[in-house]
Symmetry: C2
């Protein structure tokens, strides 16, 4: 006995399983065609069930951001995990050591200082941790600049207990790109910068077999650059309002929507739904701000959010009545799943199953 979507209490996070499956297949096809491994970033969904669909479609393993997330996925049976994050601290290193008994594990590093704790713990145990050096390809968040990569690689290479598997990068600045051409250009630069950096390291005698690029908008461009071996997009399973705005996908490629109820229509130009920032997050639409979520089937958007209220400016021709149920396209899917314990897997208007967001709340 499945439930009708209309019977769900609101707000509820819906995942259209047909769209999800299509997104997973398409991304796998892109990677196959480009001849690179796909290692999707599972922080987007934090659901082992969805990650299993990604592996079944051909993904080589998964990427994660947190040691605690890796613990959840390891417990769920995943055997090949890359923590694409510069993990620091002895406590984390001990947990990574325990994890490395059970799976093929790699971890990001971006400084000898940060790598030292990992080195100490793995060397003391007579073990080697595979690490990838983060390269800053222009985003300027973390990572070493390409011109510093050789020196940092050498210093990390001197640390016992570590083995440099490759280089990785993330062109997060692609989310500021205002045109599809700019997206493509950033993607190409991402791939070229990383491939050139890897090439320079190899010329200096440092083996870096893995050359790994990231991000849903840029990956399809970066993965086609010669020398790139792996891509790590995450958001593509769901897509969201920002991906539509960036031109990464069409509206019908968005698998995640929020089911909400209109709770108040206090003025002719304002309707308020029971989904606020605790449901949708406050993340802005990118590349340009544009409210907090399109109400599907209408021209109206949520224009302001508080914790439990989403206020739409009612556009001409749209009518909302108290009690109406609406579907909202979120700005940023990855932070929506992180706010919820379960996602409702929907097909043809019925709730097929509930997907537990197993690694939600695993912040450390």
């Amino acid at each position: 006995m499945t439930r009708a979507v209309e019977d769900l209490p609101t707000p509820a996070v819906l995942v259209d399983m047909d769209v999800l499956a299509r997104n997973i297949a398409r991304q796998a096809g892109r990677a196959r065609q480009a001849g690179v491994r796909l290692r999707p970033h599972a922080k987007t969904h934090k659901c082992p069930e969805i990650a299993r669909m990604q592996l079944a479609a051909g993904a080589a393993g998964i990427s994660l951001a947190k040691t605690s997330e890796a613990e959840v996925f390891a417990a769920a049976g995943f055997e090949d995990i890359f923590i694409a994050y510069p993990v620091a601290g002895l406590g984390k290193a001990e947990r990574l050591l325990a994890l490395s008994d059970r799976l093929r594990l790699a971890v990001g590093v971006d400084s000898p200082e940060g790598a030292r704790g990992l080195s100490a713990v793995f060397a003391a145990a007579g073990r080697k941790l595979q690490v990838l050096l983060k390269i800053d390809c222009g985003y300027h968040r973390v990572g070493v600049l390409p011109e510093d990569a050789l020196e940092v690689s050498k210093r990390i290479g001197e640390l016992p207990g570590l083995s440099l598997r490759g280089v990785f990068t993330h062109a997060g600045h692609v989310y500021q790109a205002e045109t599809p051409e700019a997206v493509a250009e950033i993607g190409r630069q991402e791939g070229e910068t990383l491939a050139e950096t890897a090439s320079a390291l190899r010329n200096a005698g440092i083996g870096v077999p893995e050359v790994s690029v990231g991000s849903t908008p840029s990956a399809r461009h970066a993965m086609r650059v010669h020398g790139v071996t792996e891509c790590r997009p995450g958001n593509y399973v769901f897509h969201d309002g920002s991906q539509v705005a960036l031109g990464t996908c069409a509206l019908e490629d968005c698998a995640m929507t929020i089911l909400a109820t209109v709770v108040s229509v206090p003025a002719t130009d304002r309707a308020v739904v029971d989904a606020g920032s605790k449901t949708l997050s406050s993340d802005a639409l990118r590349p340009r701000p544009g409210g907090h979520g399109l109400i599907l089937g209408t021209r109206s958007r949520l224009v302001s959010l508080t914790e439990e209220h989403g206020a739409a400016r009612v556009e001409e021709g749209d009518v909302f009545r108290v009690g109406d149920r609406v579907r909202i396209l979120p700005n940023h899917a990855c932070v929506v799943s992180n706010l919820h314990d379960r996602l409702y897997a929907v097909r043809s208007g019925r709730v097929e199953t509930e997907l537990r967001v197993a690694a939600r709340g695993r912040v450390e």
Copy 2:
């Protein structure tokens, strides 16, 4: 055996229990002095343990935003709950009926359309649900305008199964107030608007014993207005960066901080910690934007957040090294607790206990 704060994995949400207790006592004292009931909004913490401290200090009951939150607090033994939200839909009404067997329950309404479902379910069961009419005192989110209150009250009064207990409001626009004088003025207006509305209803023969105002910045001003009977501040238990910026409290009155680790110092002017928008939320500092969290003991702030990275602009004189542990003052405490399963209760540098955020994830 308690743990040292320094031994916690990061990021971690810390609550200084001495500051928390002082905040609770002060707010209770303010309400007592003003001669109004205190019904704190527990959406800020979602922790039964903290709500019990509020009751022990003299609170008359609690406010909540969601039916599901009320279910959690009812299960934890709370007996007097006001859902300060215009609840709509038959499914919710059925759940409220079940709840009303077990406690003194009241619910917000702001339209006859929204109230109709509640009315139908309670009338069919031969029961009365206490409702409070939401008045829009200038925030323009939900609620009826004061000039419409009489007509709407009459229409709601005609619905069987409901009993109008009073009026309530929330001056959310106080968070845009740029000076302490503006905060005070909005608070006074909030109290006066609501007291005058209640008075007009009484003059028309409609009994509204409860006159309930809200919000941590405005409550202390609104509660002093003659005719106000109850106040519902929430944030005051923790306070946060926005309350400091609004002049509601001093820095030392902030009970909630985020313990984080510096994971990367990629440039002399940039340090990155392991607390991003999945830890701190993306909520902006109010009343004016000002980054995403002050690093305590420094002049530096987080200036950009992504999901798992918080990037600080390093101000002159501040030094950050990879592995350093820092304490961050969040912009908005209410959304931080909602992102975490547990808060660490801290006293004198030791973790006394873990507070489970019991109603977290209860979105419906």
